[in-house]
């Protein structure tokens, strides 16, 4: 169990818009404070332990502002919204 941890090494599939934003959680920081689920309930819910469950796929453009605000409001800076790398 070694290689391949973390973000995917694969390139995004051809034709996917370069500006697609996805949500990633730094699980080593996340403490389940829950602000993100309150700020973007359309995309983020809570699991039974209080940690965020993020809807799969890119962030729809009309929610980008909310997601960015949630990222900046996270008290432990565990929420990241960015382009795929």
């Amino acid at each position: 169990m070694t290689a391949g941890a973390g973000p995917s090494e694969k390139q995004p599939p051809a034709g996917s818009p370069a500006e697609e934003v996805t949500i990633r959680i730094d699980w080593t920081r996340c403490e389940g404070r829950g602000l993100c689920a309150e700020l973007v309930p359309e995309l983020i819910s809570m699991d039974e332990w209080g940690y965020p469950v993020v809807a799969a796929g890119p962030v729809p453009p009309h929610l980008l502002g909310h997601v960015k605000r949630a990222a900046s409001c996270c008290p432990v800076l565990a929420l990241h919204a960015g382009r795929r790398r």
Binding site: M1, T2, A5, G6, E9, W27, Y51, V53, R85
Partner: protein, 452 residues
């Protein structure tokens, strides 16, 4: 040059699986049953071409003959190297010999036998990429491997054999300490041994924020063999996955062994080479504790290759092949390993910390015949909640192991709802023993610099 930690000498040595003669050509294990590690002179005698070869050859050869990473993920080395080469900054090469899994001994065996072959591969990769540092992360609990590595590094430094100086880092003997991000963090001097959240892959930004080629120790040894053998490297193996691989075999075989075999050897043939089956089987665990259970008849016929295993519902992983005897409670085995994996959480990520113990507890109840009918549904729900929700792949790998077990042992799961099965609870798969008795080390004990 020996480790300075006295505790290693007072702890009973873990019993290393015996190395058996290779099936097919002995490449990694060309020195066969030799005692002790190859010195530089032994190494050159066994592998007669001088390793100081041009980096350009590496790229050309890798384009013709794929080497899939031997650490578990099976990711093509050439793709990683291209990604490193395309990224900004002077590259770094990291050899991962952390091997924190108690069931698997192939990297420790390889280092004990042929440390210079591993280091040759790292130096060839460094030359191809223009890297100026090589780091080796090693699990110190098996002293013959650790000591062979340190001695080999010293020999090379004394001879100014390498362009890129080599540093050895001792990793904690923990399952997740071998995760790429944990190894990078250890080398960077951070809290050693625990995985970290990475914004980008190590090949873009890893050690010291530089592009980092991190691969398993055997992958680098394979690279050294490829450069030595040229196109003859592909004389064995499958067209897509040429060469040989090291396997660890334990379970319904005469003894725990490590052996080299061509990629594409069927599980049946490998087991025959490991001394043959000692009793009837009910299933085979392939890959490791992040691998997959397979029904015995499916597993035995499947070639040990990344693609073939995947197609058959298995996973080649890091080459564990563990035939499970029919005469033992499989759910007891599964529950023990699940408990071990839950205990091996690095304790950082909420879903893993909360979910794995619940899954392990439910499996233990089930194995004892004390679970209610909804247990499978609960395990499935928790599995869905931990997979993909950690800084590393420990939750994902654990869930893969558990899910495949519930599928392959579905009949046992059903029967256990009405009480224990009565089969012996044997504990075939190792989960602790001497390895866990060794105190964990948190700092690099050895740092050996080469010249220049």
């Amino acid at each position: 040059m020996r480790t300075t930690d006295r505790s290693l000498q007072t702890t009973p040595a873990p019993t290393a699986p015996r190395l058996l003669p290779a099936l097919g050509p002995a490449r990694l294990t060309a020195r066969g049953q030799a005692d002790g590690a190859a010195s530089w002179a032994d190494h050159l005698a066994a592998f007669p071409v001088d390793p100081r070869l041009a980096g350009r050859e590496v790229t050309d050869l890798l384009a013709r003959h794929a080497i899939l990473g031997r650490g578990g993920a099976g990711f093509p080395l050439a793709v990683k190297m291209r990604s490193v080469a395309a990224s900004k900054g002077r590259p770094v090469v990291v050899v991962n010999a952390a091997e924190g899994e108690p069931a698997i001994w192939k990297d420790r065996t390889l280092l004990r036998l042929a440390p210079h072959l591993v280091l040759d591969g790292a130096q060839l990769a460094a030359a191809a990429l223009g890297a100026d540092q090589v780091h080796v992360a090693v699990n110190p609990t098996y002293a013959p491997a650790h000591d062979a590595l340190v001695r080999a590094v010293g020999e090379r430094a004394a001879r100014a054999a390498d362009l890129a100086p080599i540093r050895v880092h001792v990793v904690p003997d923990a399952f997740t300490a071998g995760e790429a991000s944990a190894v990078i963090r250890l080398i960077d001097g951070g809290a050693g041994g625990r995985p970290a959240f990475l914004h980008v892959v190590p090949s873009v930004r890893g050690v010291a924020r530089r592009p980092t080629l991190l691969s398993n120790a055997e992958s680098f040894a394979q690279l050294a063999l490829l450069v030595r053998l040229g196109d003859a490297y592909a004389d064995v193996g499958t067209p897509d996955e040429p060469g040989t691989m090291l396997f660890t075999v334990r379970g319904a075989v005469p003894e725990d062994v490590v052996l080299e075999a061509p990629v594409g050897t069927t599980v049946w043939d490998l087991l025959a080479g490991a001394g043959g089956l000692t009793e009837p089987l009910q299933a085979v665990l392939v890959g490791g504790y992040h691998g997959r259970w397979m029904p015995a008849d499916v597993a035995l016929a499947t070639p040990l290759a990344v693609g073939a295993m995947r197609a058959a519902g298995g996973a080649l992983g890091a080459g564990l092949v563990a035939p499970l005897p029919a005469e033992c409670c499989p759910l007891h085995e599964v529950a023990r390993v699940a408990r071990y994996l839950a205990d091996q959480t690095a304790g950082q990520c909420g879903p893993c910390v909360n979910g794995l113990p619940l899954i392990a507890g439910a499996l233990a109840d089930l194995a004892r015949g004390e679970a209610d009918a909804a247990v499978a549904a609960r395990i499935a729900r928790w599995s869905g909640l931990v997979a993909g929700r950690g800084a590393c792949k420990h939750p994902d790998g654990t869930v893969g192991f558990v899910r495949s077990a519930l599928e392959v042992f579905a009949g046992h799961v059903e029967a256990h709802l009405h009480g224990p099965c009565g089969l012996p609870r044997r504990g075939v798969l190792p989960v602790d023993g001497p390895l866990s008795a060794v105190p964990r080390q948190r700092v690099a004990a050895d740092a050996v610099r080469g010249t220049r």
